[in-house]
Point group: C2
Chain length 126, copies 2
Amino acid sequence: MADFKGIADQFVGFYYQTFDADRNGLAGLYRDHSMLTFEDSPCQGTAAILEKLTSLPFQKVVHRVATLDAQPASENGSILVMVTGALMVDDQPQPMNYSQTFQLQPDGQGSYFVFNDIFRLVYPAQ
Amino acid sequence: MADFKGIADQFVGFYYQTFDADRNGLAGLYRDHSMLTFEDSPCQGTAAILEKLTSLPFQKVVHRVATLDAQPASENGSILVMVTGALMVDDQPQPMNYSQTFQLQPDGQGSYFVFNDIFRLVYPAQ
């Protein structure tokens, strides 16, 4: 079995580094059958996903990962990743908690793409 | 394609209702190749997973789901589910946030079992 934890670590580091620097750089991580659910908005395909991510209404964003867990997700080598963390946007001083789940699938050429992507902000329980 | 959102809703309702009433009742949802990562503890197989869940150090627990998102996870009918919510244990007045991801797989007999399960408490960002 591939080193799923190492691959997940490497993917998550690259993903948020790219997200925070230039969201357009995420295009290569998705395929036309990839799915993103961002808060209440589901979309599918690289173009729709990039349109969603690049239209989010902030200029600056910094993700800070708190936990990162991975498990093998299928016999074909896909990897399930769940991240919890915090993000800061623009000049708002207060970070927001979030949780994000990815399923990474091997692309047959030694790399991985994002098949599933679910993102939710986590609001403090009352 | 099966009604993945309806199946996810039904599963999540049953899962937490059973968890909160009698964790032993969750045994039927796992198989011997199922994986659970509960906080920092990974384990595999129905027996190990039930041992973990039933040994958690609280008597009373109530889960309250805040968000529930689902996506088809593979061509074989598996379903990815991410939940965020809050839980209250014993007589502690303050709920804790959590996030939990499941991959449900069809069991070939019209039902589903949990192949992947990742659980994390989410602590307020500072």
